[in-house]
Subunit: 330 residues, 2 copies
Amino acid sequence: MSGEFERIAVIRRLAGRHGRGVVLGIGDDAALLASRPGYDTAISSDLLVEGVHFRLDWATPEQIGYKAVAVSLSDMAAMGAEPFAAVIGLAMPTTLGDEFIEAFYRGATALANRHGTTIVGGDLSRSPSTIVIDSVLVGHVPEGGALRRDRARSGQDIYVSGELGTSAFGFARLQSSNEDDLASFASEAAVRTHLLPEPRVEIGRALVARSLATAAIDVSDGLSSDLRHLCEASDVGAILDAATIPAPAGLELALHGGEQYELLFTADPERRSEVAALGAETGVPITRIGRLDYTVVGVWLETEGTRARLEPSGYDHFRSTSPAVDPTSR
Amino acid sequence: MSGEFERIAVIRRLAGRHGRGVVLGIGDDAALLASRPGYDTAISSDLLVEGVHFRLDWATPEQIGYKAVAVSLSDMAAMGAEPFAAVIGLAMPTTLGDEFIEAFYRGATALANRHGTTIVGGDLSRSPSTIVIDSVLVGHVPEGGALRRDRARSGQDIYVSGELGTSAFGFARLQSSNEDDLASFASEAAVRTHLLPEPRVEIGRALVARSLATAAIDVSDGLSSDLRHLCEASDVGAILDAATIPAPAGLELALHGGEQYELLFTADPERRSEVAALGAETGVPITRIGRLDYTVVGVWLETEGTRARLEPSGYDHFRSTSPAVDPTSR
């Protein structure tokens, strides 16, 4: 294995030239970011733990690097922020060697650069057995314009980008030992969604630029859990229309499957045509799936006229006793 | 064990009210920090891995939380930045329970608050076996004023704050099974330095405010390694005067022992009285230990008129095969 300097040199080379907003990147005690008057700085952190969030026999090092950045970019999307800098910590067993580090950062920088984001720093350490990654993203959002969770109001519509449950379906296929399952085209696409989710950064930024959304959250734990988070933060209830939920892999996975990284947001009913226009522009379907209602407590699901309370079944990292990766593990 | 919401509520309560610079703290997809025109934003990350950087039988959860924040505050000090926000990721086995989380964040917030720093976010995850912490600190430094490593010039003096080697001595005492060693006062103080290092934030900020230093780095890997980092970044050599190095635990530990978190900086010879005044003001000794010299390559040590090349023997996380904590492990 090479020395610390050589490893840092490799990461520096992969990180490339400083993008906008970056004064000083990898190589000093800290990175330096330029101030941007009129903008708040959004900062988020996501841990990815081997055996909890990913497995080496399912994902390549590049895919793990990609996903580490993707989940944090999704946090930026959920705030409506424009990401520009990333700080990535990587603790791993020495047995994995330099090849893992280089491939991991190649995957991470590929996605970061696609979103105008420079990897400006981080830390490397050996770990006795488990790979642990911390992915920290930094972005800018116009002062006072961020998409918070606590600004949704009764009477507003609930929207979701893309489709729900595909990632969980892909995860189930990875767990399945049936090769026929994996060979089908639908499985392949779902596995891809699970391993390489597409953060909705562009949609989040457009929602802020047009002041379209009142609140937003990304669907990391699952619709039932994340909508509840938003409702609790905003002190309002929600009623979902089951027939409208984009659920190609079935309603159950769409309601409770995690790691989809779609945007869940709320908007005033007068803005419906503008929301539809945004979907058309970005090429990503945006679907109205329900409404906020102060007369109910929690999240309810309407199916053919019948209303039932939707209990969250999102994943809790500390309760689970599963030894492997969980489909709803974020 | 309690649920995710209860755990986050505990951390939120410990984090306290938002300090200056913080628009939105724990609880949304990302935290929001206010812009500060005329200032760059410094951001640093440090991983702390169980069995590599700390051991549960040597340190309490509070001490681990303290140290996680201390090592990143030391990075802020080395840039001359004013820290104001922290993002702490914690991956840990579920067997440790809520008590560990609460005590860890109690230790982390205690030190953070002492330095005007709010914990604004992070992530919690279970880990199959090993505790892994990522400590990310954010600070402000006047535009163009940061203490970089690459601005030192030949003819300038080399200074160090506090004393060197004490932390390594404390670590050696923790490894020793001799109870008599641990009972002595000097051992106790050294163990305290090892477990609860004091980041030199005040000195770093004063160096920037007075434009006193030309370059700086913190002594995390050890004097021989960190001075070499600074010399290589600045493309200059260094000559240390052995007799002047503050080494209460012996020269060997002072030269090569890590985790001391003192500030190593360079300054023009005309500023000697101002540097001395800063030491007197802060109550922390600041000692001139050598000079930069373009006629030598690397770091040299002068002892009673004899000059010998000082090879770095700082710790490399990936080369070590030690199963336990290493004295020079940062």
